[in-house]
Symmetry: C2
Subunit: 313 residues, 2 copies
């Protein structure tokens, strides 16, 4: 165990992968290892990348990774989107392109799925961010598909959140209205060689004007064509500017505290659920209660109270 920790800290990719798997499986060894690596964390800039299906998030992350590598920075990528090329969910061409990064020791890519009933949305993601951070990655990008809970979660993990939209997809602007405005630190209008890009940029800027009236920082709106790399350098600069802004305004510490809080909630949730539902102690009891609920001899709330009375002080 000491071995895996020191290897992770030295940036050994195989050790990183092994520790991530242990963390995903809620292995007690992982919990111990996570305790030891915590002192080595806090240096990586965590960038959340969210946007609707087909907005080109993965290609953008690929191009950002190449830029960071040229600057000599080490990069971690966590894909929580099941349709991401990083997750093997997309077109073959995309997958091949992404896999080019796999040969580079300064890049670590991991895709994460949803982990069944007790897991929730990639609940090990906090551990994975800490592991990549401790392993010396300068930048950790977290890709989530931007609908529902995922984009709310990404803001808790990320220092800087990019919201990616594309021209012509009228629905994406609808989505923005419904909640993405608050989470974006930078808007990226990708596929900017498409028709209607100026209208999309205008729409997004209009929304930014309305919603950031009272803020001291106006959310920038950038155009990129990830597929040929256009605008990616400007995006890298803008991300750096945001990081400086966070440091200057002490928002960085607040943001980090928010992440630790979310992580603490998640660890506690996972431990309690594992204690109740994964360990054999309560299996029979729960099966029995489910039978009774089905027969309407007891209701779910009373059943829950019965289980809780067995574990709580």
């Amino acid at each position: 165990m000491k071995d895996i920790v020191s290897k992770v800290i030295r940036g050994d990719s195989r050790a990183i992968a092994r520790l991530i798997t242990l963390a995903e499986n809620n292995d007690p060894v992982a919990a111990e290892a996570m305790k030891r690596i915590h002192p080595y964390t806090g240096k990586a800039h965590v960038i959340g990348v969210t946007g609707v299906l087909g907005s080109g998030k993965s290609t953008l992350i690929y191009e950002l990774t190449r830029w960071y590598r040229r600057q000599g920075k080490k990069v971690g990528v966590i894909a929580i989107d099941p349709t991401s090329p990083f997750s093997g969910g997309a077109l073959l061409g995309d997958r091949i392109r992404m896999s080019e990064l796999a040969g580079d020791d300064g890049v670590f890519i991991r895709s994460m799925g949803t982990r069944g009933m007790l897991g929730g949305l990639a609940s090990a993601v906090y551990d994975v961010v800490e592991i990549l951070d401790a392993s010396g990655k300068d930048v950790v990008m977290v890709e989530t598909v931007g609908v529902g809970q995922a984009e709310v979660d990404v803001i808790k993990i990320a220092d800087t959140t990019l919201v990616v939209v594309v021209p012509g997809l009228g629905d994406s602007i609808q989505t923005l209205k419904a909640g993405m405005m608050e989470i974006a630190d930078i808007f990226v209008v990708n596929k900017a060689d498409r028709e209607g890009v100026d209208q999309t940029v205008a729409e997004v800027e209009n929304l930014v004007d309305i919603t950031s009236m009272d803020n001291d920082r106006k959310t920038p709106v950038l155009k990129t064509v990830a597929r040929d790399g256009s605008g990616v350098k400007e995006l890298v600069d803008e991300i750096e500017k945001h990081k400086k802004y966070l440091k200057l305004t002490k928002e960085f510490e607040k943001q980090r505290r928010l992440r630790y809080e979310a992580e603490l909630v998640e660890i506690i949730r996972k431990r309690l659920m594992k204690l109740i539902f994964d360990e054999s102690t309560f299996k029979e009891k729960i099966e029995n209660l489910l039978d009774k609920i089905s027969k309407k001899e007891i209701d779910p709330h009373s059943a829950a109270e019965e289980i809780l009375s067995k574990i709580l002080k």
Copy 2:
């Protein structure tokens, strides 16, 4: 409290709305009321409707509702999609159309958002399904946007799950491959007046053939144009057929038990999280631990253990 329970059971819309709000706010009165209504539940057919943004789920639910109403059935609709017209998130025209249902006492519509850090994805949805069921609704439709965790959750709640796709949206087939195949009881190719519908139907049927080879039931693929009601009658018939299939094969009971299990997990999760993070007992302790984590004096896993040791037997 007795009053609200008896009113809900009589189908009083204002009482239903009030009890749902209490449940969403984790009010202890709601927990008590939920215990009392449980014996009146189990009759409603719960239909999950999931699909990507812009697939026309809401319009389809609107048309299904009109069909069920013509059959004299009472209908409940729960929209967990923040971009749904039922949630007020969509185009004005859609919203106006949906609101026509609001004047009908046999229809109850409720939209639910994500409820912040401790809530997760519409965690009260199980309670809402039970409330609508107890209130005498024959059909309860649950609308979720089909990406990420939501569509995995909907299968736990629904007896019958509809997965809605549209022609031409190449990405939607990608999504199917990535996990929607297993959850669909019926595929609906909506907007079937669009170009490319035959190809989309063929693609979906092809996927169905591959994935349901070992099943005794082949997932049907239906075409609809929700906007003018075409194909909706056939869909209503197919949903009825699926219900009969569930009853015949005893799958109905298995499915219900799965829902109760998910509900039990959710109630327990919510109670524990409320106990730890919402009640004032641990506020100071947690703030203190977050400070220490930030200063790297303690790691999140050890902090979690410290909190758990205070509540667990």
